[in-house]
Subunit: 457 residues, 2 copies
C-alpha cells in the first residue's frame, strides 16, 4: 500500500513541480547572510510562515546574542514516532559578486541548474523537504511521522548559540527517535550516500607576542622573533610521517570497525583520490596513498591542520622588521572517541611542557565527532528509502568534515543522526553555487520516501 | 689657519642660519616619494638646481626603469683630493596622514623641531651639507676638496638601479679617495658617532605551493599542507641557541678584531639594551644578553630573521581550509666576509639537500657587508673633524643595519666609506619624522669641519 501511495505522491510531485520550483526560487531570493545579518529576520519569518502553511506550529525562538531558531511541530494522526528535522535558513556571504554568472539572490535557472546562494547549502534542499511534506499532505491527507523542526540561522557562524537552544528545549527534543538532515548527496550523479556521522573539529588560534611593537630587523640578533617561536612550537607537534606528537593525542582514537572496513571499498569512487580531485578541481593532491588506504585515512585519520598563518609584513616588496606578534589558525579533526575538551587540554599541556606558556590559545569552535550505528532505525530508514527508489546507496560511516548535527547526538539528547537525500549540487561557499533542477525534483521525492520509511518502522 | 677659517665659517653659518633653515624647509616642501613616483622629477631638478647654484656641474642621469641620479662635480682650486658625496633625494610614503601633528610636506617648526617627511632621512641633512658648502664658499671663496655628488632617487626602493649607474660611471667614481654619507648621528644628544660600515643583507621570499587551489580542511589527512612544509623547512635552518644550521653559514664570519673589541664598551649607551629600548620605545626586548655581550651580538652577529609570514585564512573567524600555498619573507644580516651570493647559495643547497626543491626562493634585495678600517683617511678625517668641534665621537665598527653605501666600497670601486654628522633627529619612515632645529645647525657645521679635514689630509 505504501508503495502505491508513494507512487501517487511522486506523480503529484511531477505534476506540481513547476509550482514547487517557483516556491524554492522565492525562498532563495530572500537573502539570509548570517555573518552580515542581512535578511536574517525576514528569512526566519518566511521559514516559519512556510511551516505554518503546512499546518505546523512554528515560533521564532530568540537566542541570546544570536539569530533565532525557527522551531516547529507537525503532528501525524497515524504515527507515534517522532523525527527531529534539522535545517538551516542562513547562508554564506556572496563576495566576490562579479564572479557570479547569475546574481546570487535571483535564483535564476541557467541551463540545467538553479544558480544562487543557498541553492545547494541548504535552503534549496530544505524547501525540497517541505515541498515533499506538501505533496504528502495533498495526496495522503496526513504525514507519516511526527516532526520537530529545528531550523537555525547560525550554521555558517559555527552554530555558536545552538547549545543554548538545545539546553532549553532538551525535554521536547529528546523524545525524537532520530535526527535527519536532508542534503543532496550525489557528489557523483547516480551514486547517493547515506552519511552516518561527522568528524569532530576543534578550531583555534595560537598567538605569540614577544615585542610591544614591530622592531627594525637589525635588532634580530638580540631580540626574540615571535614567528620563530610559533614555528618552533608548531614544529614540536608534528614528527616524521605526519605523526602528531601531542601527548595522548591518539589515546582515544578508535580504529575502523569490521563493519566500517566493509564499507570502505565502495567509497573509493567518491572519497578516493579521483573523487576528491573531481570535487575540488584539484589535479594533484600530492598524497602517497591510493584506493582504500586513502579513503581510510581520509575518513578515520585525525588531523592537525594549519588553516592560516599571519605575521609581520606580507605585502609586496621589502619591510625589514622583527614582527611584534605571530598568529596561526589551526583545526584538529577528531574521530571517535576523541573529544574537543581532551584534545584542547592536550595542546595546552604540550605547549606548557615545552616552555611555551606565553602562547595564547583561543578556541573558536568545537564539535565532538559523531558516528551512528548502521543498526539505528533512522539509518535503516534512510538506506531502505533510497533502495525503494531503485538505487543502492553507499553508506559512509562518517564524513571527513564536521557539522552542528552532532550536537543532537551528543549528550544530553543522544538522538542518532543521519544525513541523506538525492540530487546533485555543488560550489557551496563559492560563487555560482547551484543545485540541478532535476536534482531538486529527486531531492523532494527522496524526502517523501524517507518520511514514509521512518514512520513505518 | 684652518681653525681660523673654520671659526669664521661657523660665524657665517650662525649669521645666515635663518636663510639656510628657510632653504631647507623649501626643499622639504617638495614631495619626493619614490615608491609612488610623487614629485620625484621635480625634486631631482630642484636638487640639481641647488648644486648648480654652488657652481657645481649637475646632470640628471636617467636609469633604465628607475628614477634619475643627480650627478654633479664641484672642483676645488686648492686640493687634488676627491670626495664621493653620497646622498638621496627620495623619501618614504607618509601614510597614515592623520597621525602627523603637522602635515608631512609643510616642514613646519613645532617647538624645537622641524617636522616633515625627509627632515631627518635624509633631505634635511643633505641640505645642511650643501648649505655648509655655501658657507665655505662665502667665507673662503673655494671648497677644500673636489667633490663628486651621487644623489639618488631610489634609496627607499632598495637602490635597485644604482648598480647600473655605478657600472656606467665607474671610471669617474673610482678616483675618489673616500665616500661620505652625512647623517645626524646623535641618537643620544651630545654623543655623535662615526660609522665605519654596515652589515649586509639578503632579503628574500620563500614560497611553497602544494595545491592548485585552497582545499576544504577535511582533506587534511590526505593532502600536503604547504604551511607545514614551509614551517618544517624553516625549522631545519635553526637549532638550539638560535644557531643557524645552513651549511657553511658561519664559514666566512670574521669575529670582531682587537680594534673592534676596544670600541664596544663605549657603545653600550647607544647600542646596549637601554639604547635600543629608547630608540624603539620598546620596554622589554626579551634578550638574555647585557652590556658589551649584547652590543657584540647586535653588531657582529649574523641573523636569520622572518619579516613576515602569510598563508591561508588570516581574517577573523573560521575558514577551514588547507591553503594552496604559503609564503614568508626572510632577511639574513651579513657580517664580513659573508657575501649575498655565498649565503643564498647556502640556503638553496640546504633546501635541496633536505628535499625541498619545490620551495621557491625570490631574492628581493642584497647588499654585501662593508667595514672600513680605522686607518682610512676618510675615517680619520671624520673622527678628527668632530674632535675639533670639542666632542669625542664614538666609533662604531659597523652599524647593524644595511644600506646602499656599501655599493661604493664593494668592487669595482673599492672606495672606503664613512657615515657621520652632528645633530639629532628620529622617526624615519614613521609619522612626525623630525630633525631638531639646533641639530640642523650643528649638522651644517660638522659638514664644514669634515670637508676641511678630508681636504687637508
Amino acid at each position: 500500500m505504501t508503495q502505491n501511495v508513494l507512487g501517487q505522491i511522486y506523480d503529484y510531485v511531477d505534476q506540481y513541480f513547476d509550482e514547487h520550483l517557483a516556491a524554492t526560487q522565492r525562498y532563495l531570493r530572500q537573502p539570509s547572510i548570517s555573518s552580515q545579518n542581512l535578511g536574517i529576520e525576514e528569512c526566519a519569518e518566511m521559514t516559519a510562515g512556510i511551516l505554518r502553511e503546512l499546518g505546523s506550529e512554528a515560533t521564532l525562538v530568540p537566542l541570546e546574542g544570536g539569530h533565532p531558531v525557527v522551531y516547529g511541530h507537525l503532528s501525524s494522526r497515524s504515527s507515534d514516532r517522532t523525527l527531529l528535522v534539522y535545517g538551516m535558513y542562513d547562508v554564506q556571504p556572496v563576495e566576490p559578486l562579479d564572479a557570479w554568472e547569475s546574481p546570487p539572490f535571483q535564483a535564476q535557472i541557467v541551463g540545467d541548474r538553479i544558480i544562487g546562494r543557498g541553492a545547494y547549502n541548504t535552503k534549496g534542499p530544505l524547501m525540497a523537504f517541505l515541498n515533499g511534506i506538501r505533496s504528502i499532505q495533498a495526496v495522503a491527507g496526513d504525514v507519516p511521522v511526527n516532526m520537530v523542526f529545528v531550523i537555525e540561522g547560525e550554521e555558517e557562524l559555527g552554530s555558536k548559540n545552538l547549545p543554548q537552544f538545545i539546553e532549553n528545549y532538551a525535554d521536547e527534543l529528546q523524545v525524537c527517535e532520530g535526527m535527519y538532515f536532508h542534503m543532496p548527496t550525489e557528489f557523483i550523479r547516480g551514486s547517493p550516500l547515506v552519511l552516518l556521522g561527522c568528524k569532530g573539529v576543534a578550531y583555534f588560534e595560537l598567538e605569540v607576542k614577544t615585542l610591544p611593537t614591530d622592531a627594525h630587523s637589525m635588532t634580530a640578533p638580540v631580540v626574540r622573533n615571535p614567528v620563530w617561536r610559533l614555528i618552533s612550537a608548531l614544529g614540536s607537534m608534528r614528527g616524521a610521517g605526519d605523526r602528531i606528537l601531542i601527548d595522548g593525542f591518539y589515546e582515544d582514537v578508535q580504529p575502523p570497525s569490521e563493519e566500517d572496513e566493509k564499507l570502505l571499498p565502495e567509497l573509493v569512487d567518491t572519497f578516493g583520490p579521483g573523487g576528491l580531485e573531481a570535487m575540488y578541481g584539484i589535479k594533484d593532491l600530492g598524497s602517497d596513498l591510493t584506493g582504500v588506504d586513502f579513503v581510510r585515512q581520509l575518513i578515520f585519520g585525525p588531523s592537525l591542520n594549519i588553516d592560516g598563518f599571519a605575521a609581520g609584513h606580507t605585502g609586496s616588496g621589502i619591510k625589514t622588521i622583527v614582527p611584534a606578534s605571530a598568529m596561526c589558525k589551526v583545526d584538529i579533526r577528531l574521530v571517535p572517541d576523541m573529544t574537543v575538551q581532551q584534545v584542547m587540554g592536550g595542546v595546552r599541556a604540550h605547549l606548557d611542557h615545552l616552555g611555551y606558556e606565553d602562547i595564547e590559545i583561543r578556541l573558536l569552535a568545537g564539535y565532538n565527532p559523531a558516528k551512528t550505528s548502521m543498526k539505528e532505525s533512522v539509518v535503516q530508514a534512510a538506506v531502505r528509502s533510497i533502495q525503494r527508489m531503485g538505487i543502492e546507496p553507499k553508506v559512509v560511516p562518517m564524513i571527513p568534515s564536521s557539522g552542528p548535527q552532532v550536537m543532537f547526538s551528543d549528550p544530553p539528547l543522544n538522538v542518532p543522526l543521519v544525513i541523506s537525500g538525492l540530487g546533485h549540487g555543488w560550489l557551496m561557499h563559492a560563487p555560482n553555487e547551484y543545485i540541478e533542477v532535476e536534482g531538486l525534483r529527486s531531492c523532494e521525492k527522496s524526502a517523501v520516501a524517507f518520511l514514509y520509511e521512518f514512520g513505518a518502522v
